[in-house]
Amino acid sequence: METLSFEYRGGRSVASPPPSVLVGVVGSGNLEVLVEPAPLGGICRVEIQTAAVGFGTTWQAVLDDVFARHPLADVRISINDVGATPAVVSLRLDQALDAFAGGFQP
């Protein structure tokens, strides 16, 4: 197990966010993403618990892209991962953040 943490600045707060959004399941090759509003002084914080050790740079790259698509502030994103591929991680995060920001409901 490895714990990773990332922070992004410069995003925008969602006006009236839902209390939380949960997407995905903690199963092999999959992950769950929990998104919650949090008073973080403008920061978007991502906390990851992953079964696949040593993929910090891959996570960094995937999350940079996700933040570019969803520049959010005052958000806490919590992830439990069982070795999902970058494509699956991106998909789940897009689903979760779209729902959080008022897009479609997954």
Partner: protein, 295 residues
């Protein structure tokens, strides 16, 4: 049609309950995760693989629990089991119209085996306490991982089980039997054998499942509602007379079918004309074919 088999626990609850009526208790944001998995290098889930809450089913007040097979096969650990027990005990206080258990579980979670086993026995006692208090408990079984181990026992403690053909219900899973006793005892890769032994059609014919429905969330909803209304008229019965009647049924099952080695033999004894055709029938034709043939 929305497949119950392929849906997640949360997806099933969404389709089952009146829209927007689910209020989850101890939701994922509480992060009430298993305290035992991390030391075994195993990821935790924010809900420990089970959703519990209050909701409405066609206006009736229900308590619900849904196990997520995608997380460790829906296996019961300390927190998972305590959520289920707590929900059942909540029914003693709030007296809902019924409790719905959307089971999907391989049984006890080995990573916390002792805690899981004890938790299942606490669930068992809680189910019986709820029923003894006159509140019906209904099981829905149609998930990918089926319902085995301690949860297979729990299911048969309840008032009624709703299954789809794809649902499976038993005690020891086919893989466990094969691993321990050998492939000649139970070939777990023989899908047809597995399904006709522990699948919904056979369980329905034996009388272990009260209702057989298509693999459709709406069909499960309709069946649960019908059972709820039926049970609210007569209420659960755990009297000596009821258990003596159950004893007689199980005794005659042993006597009639104890020598059978395959489901096909049992179906033939039940008077089904072409038993080998049952597995390929769709649910509606199956139900029409076996009418008056169930135990």
């Amino acid at each position: 049609m929305s497949s119950y088999y392929e849906d997640s626990a949360r997806g099933r609850l969404d389709g089952l309950l009146d829209p927007g009526s689910l209020i989850e208790i101890v939701p994922p944001t509480e992060r009430m995760v298993s305290p035992h998995l991390r030391q075994l290098d195993t990821p935790a889930a924010f809900d420990d693989g089970i959703v519990v809450g209050e909701g409405r089913l066609a206006g009736r007040r229900v308590l619900v629990a849904a196990q997520e097979g995608g997380f460790m096969g829906g296996a019961v650990g300390e927190v998972h089991g305590a959520k289920l027990t707590g929900l059942l005990e909540r029914a003693l206080d709030t007296r809902p119209d019924g409790v719905l258990l959307l089971v999907e579980s391989g049984g006890v979670r080995l990573h916390e085996a002792n805690a899981g086993l004890i938790a299942v026995s606490e669930v068992m006692r809680a189910v019986l306490a709820v029923r003894a208090a006159g509140i019906p408990v209904i099981v829905l079984d149609g998930g990918t991982f089926g319902c085995f181990g301690g949860m297979g026992i729990v299911s048969r403690l309840c008032d009624a089980v709703v299954m789809s053909e794809e649902g499976r219900l038993g005690l020891s899973g086919p893989e466990v039997i094969e691993t321990t006793m050998g492939v000649e005892e139970f070939d777990s890769r023989d899908r047809a054998l597995v399904w006709r032994t522990v699948g919904g059609k056979h369980r329905y014919l034996l009388g272990e499942a009260a209702t057989l429905v298509e693999d459709d969330v709406a069909a499960f909803r309709a069946a649960a509602l019908a059972l709820l209304d039926q049970l609210s008229d007569r209420g659960p019965d755990l009297s000596l007379a009821a258990l003596e009647a159950e004893h007689a049924v199980l005794g005659s099952r042993l006597e009639r079918f104890g020598g059978c080695r395959d489901a096909l033999d049992i179906w033939e004894k039940l008077g089904v004309e072409e038993p080998e055709k049952l597995p390929i029938l769709d649910t509606a034709s199956f139900l029409a074919t076996v009418r008056d043939r169930r135990v």
